[in-house]
Every structure is written in structure tokens, then in C-alpha cells.
Amino acid sequence: MSENPADASAYIQHHLVNLPLNLHNFTFTSGGFWTLDVDTLGIAIVLGVLFCWLFRLAAKKATAGVPRSWQNFVEIMIDFVDSQVKETYNGKSQLIGPLALTIFVWVFLMNFMDLLPVDLLPRIMGAMGAPYFRAVPTADPNLTIGLALSVFCLIIFYSLKIKGFKGVGHELMHSPFPYLLPVNFIFRVIEEFAKPLSLSLRLFGNLYAGELIFILIALLPWWIQWTLGGAWAIFHILIITLQAFIFMMLTIVYLSMAHEMHS
């Protein structure tokens, strides 16, 4: 890379812009809210389909006999997620297990894109005519907020389903402190809205920072990049797994809280 500060800054800037699709006229320009980040959504969908396909492969051939290697791996994943769900959430739900599994694997795969060389996908897509391309979907706040909002909707849905409007209202008014109505209400509303916000910004922040550091490492002379790049990549393996796990775990915890009555 160039030693010129202006070039370096342009390089970084270029790496931090998504490929926009203007939904008003379907051009690669920004259209305000009605813009799709094609790179984010595209990679997310590709990875999601990959996940569904691979796991469906094992599910189709699932036998109660001796499992083959891929089925074995899928079973380990499902068992791991299932045990986490059972530890936290004591009830019967058809949704929470699959939801947690999808979150864990999908978010992990999207995080994993961070370990590809920072210029690999942007160069390939650039050669195909895309002016911008960001390879890590979870470094786009739109995606993480989308995930967190979905979880938030589920929290609200289950709260209402289990406790009813009256139960939720009662909970909002009378806890954590008995008979401190307005304070309780403000506390609880802040608490509820903090859930999706923290969920999405944690994931986004970690991956954005990770990506940025990879970009900065890419600015070093080529013969020294492997030292920092290698170290950061190895450390990042831990981070991407941990962030996927945290997102899954918090989803389970929030949903189990939605199921439980505050007495």
C-alpha cells in the first residue's frame, strides 16, 4: 500500500462504504432510507443458504443408527445449542432452539468473513464492476440491528402471549419497585429498549473494530503484515465465535425472561 496519508485515508474510507442499491431507481447510488446494502444482504443470504443447505443435508439423512461425520457435527451443534437453551429456558418451545441455532451458525459464518483477506472480495467484486464492497455483513449496523429487532419483536410477542396485556402492564408498572409507578415505567421501558440496542451494537462494534484493524494491518508494508495480521487473525477466531455465542445466549436469556412471570 502507499505510504501517502491521503491515499491511506482514502483506502480506509473506501473499505468502509457499502455497495448501495437505490430502491427508487435501482442504481448503485444512495437513496436515503430506501437503500439496500447489496453486499451485506447478498453475503448474508449466501451464507444463510449455505447454512440451511448444509444442515438440511444432515437432517435429511439423519438416522438413529451410527451417525456419519457430517451428521455427527450437526448433532454436536444442535446438542450444544439445545443444552444452552435447556439450561436457561425451562419451558417447551418449538422456536427457541432453531432460532438460537440459526443465530449462532449464521452469525458465526458472517463473522467468519472477517478472516478472509480484506481485499479479496472487494477486488473480485471491483473487477466485476462494483464500486464498493464490504465483505463482513455483521460489520454493517443495519444487519445487526435487523437481527436484534427481530429478537425484540419476539420478546414482545412472547411477553404478550404468555402474560397478556394486563400482565405486561402490571409488570411495567409494579417492578422492580412496588408502588413506584412512573419510575418503574421509565426503568422498564429503558431496560426493554436497551436489550436490542446492546445486542446489535455489541456485535456490530466488535466486528467493525476487527475489520478496521485488518484494514490498518493491510496498510503496513507487505513483508511485515503476516506478524500482526497472523496474531490478530488468531485472536479474532476467538472473538467471532464468542460474539456469535453471546448473541445466541442473550437471545435465549431475553426470550426466557419474556416467558417468566415476575412475581
Binding site: A59, L95, L149
Partner: protein, 160 residues
């Protein structure tokens, strides 16, 4: 990096993937896992049952063996007592036989003695008559003499 419609697209995509997992991935795999779990549990239970059966059979065999041993001892004892009885019976029989033989011999001897006695008596009478004839040299009434001598012989016999 402003919020845009990607968010909505992401929510939709997410919903689809979760639905897919919930419908086509999670249930078959968990079902297979549960089935395997049940299979293994059944297998373990069967093994345990088999072990218990074996234990029972072993018990039964030991009991049977003990019974057989007791029975064998009984039979042996019976045989022993039977043998003793037979020996005893044989002993008694042989003693009886011996006694009978002895009695027979005794009676033979007695008979013989009687005969010898008769003969002796006759001979003694003859001798006496002969003696008397010689001494008297006289014709005497032989029958009177004979009676006399017979009495004499009887007296001799009695004293003998």
C-alpha cells in the same frame, strides 16, 4: 453508514432462515438423536436384564446342584442300609441253615447210636445166652431165660 432498508431485508431473511431451520433442520435431527438415545437406553436396560437373568439362572443351577447332591447322598445311604440289611439277612439265613444242618447231623448221629445200641443189645443178649448155655449145659426153657436176660439187659442199659 446510516440506517436503511437493509434492516428490513435482513429481518425478512432472518425470519425465512429461522422458519427453514425450525421446519426442516431441527426436528429431524433432534428426532434421530432422541431415537438413538432411546435405543441406547433400551440396549443398556436389556443388557442389565440379561445380567439379572444370568444371575438368576446361576442361582437356580447352584440350587439344583445342591439338591442333586443331597439326593445322591440319600440314595447312597439307602443303598448302604439295604446292603447292610442284605448282609444281615444272609447272616441270619446262613445261621439258620447251619443250625438245621447241625440238627440233622445230630439226629443222624442219634439214629446211628440207636442202631448201634440195638445191635449191641442183641449181641449182648446173644453173648449172654451163649454164655448161659455154656454154663448151664442144660436144656432150659429158652424163652424164660430170654425174658430174664432181656430184663437184665434193660437194667444194664438203664444204668449205662
Amino acid at each position: 453508514m446510516s440506517l436503511n432498508a437493509t434492516l428490513l431485508g435482513q429481518m425478512l431473511t432472518f425470519a425465512v432462515f429461522v422458519w427453514f431451520t425450525m421446519k426442516f433442520v431441527w426436528p429431524p435431527v433432534t428426532k434421530a438423536m432422541h431415537e438413538r438415545q432411546k435405543k441406547i437406553a433400551d440396549g443398556l436396560a436389556a443388557a442389565e436384564q440379561g445380567e439379572r437373568d444370568l444371575e438368576i439362572a446361576r442361582h437356580k443351577a447352584a440350587e439344583e446342584l445342591r439338591d442333586a447332591r443331597i439326593k445322591a447322598a440319600e440314595i447312597l445311604e439307602q443303598a448302604n442300609s439295604r446292603a447292610a440289611q442284605i448282609i444281615e439277612e444272609g447272616k441270619v439265613k446262613s445261621r439258620e441253615e447251619g443250625d438245621r444242618l447241625i440238627a440233622l447231623a445230630h439226629s443222624d448221629i442219634e439214629q446211628e447210636r440207636e442202631e448201634v445200641k440195638q445191635q449191641l443189645r442183641r449181641e449182648v443178649v446173644d453173648f449172654a445166652i451163649f454164655g448161659a448155655e455154656k454154663i448151664l449145659q442144660k436144656n432150659i426153657d429158652e424163652s424164660v431165660q430170654r425174658d430174664l436176660l432181656n430184663n437184665l439187659v434193660a437194667e444194664v442199659e438203664k444204668s449205662a
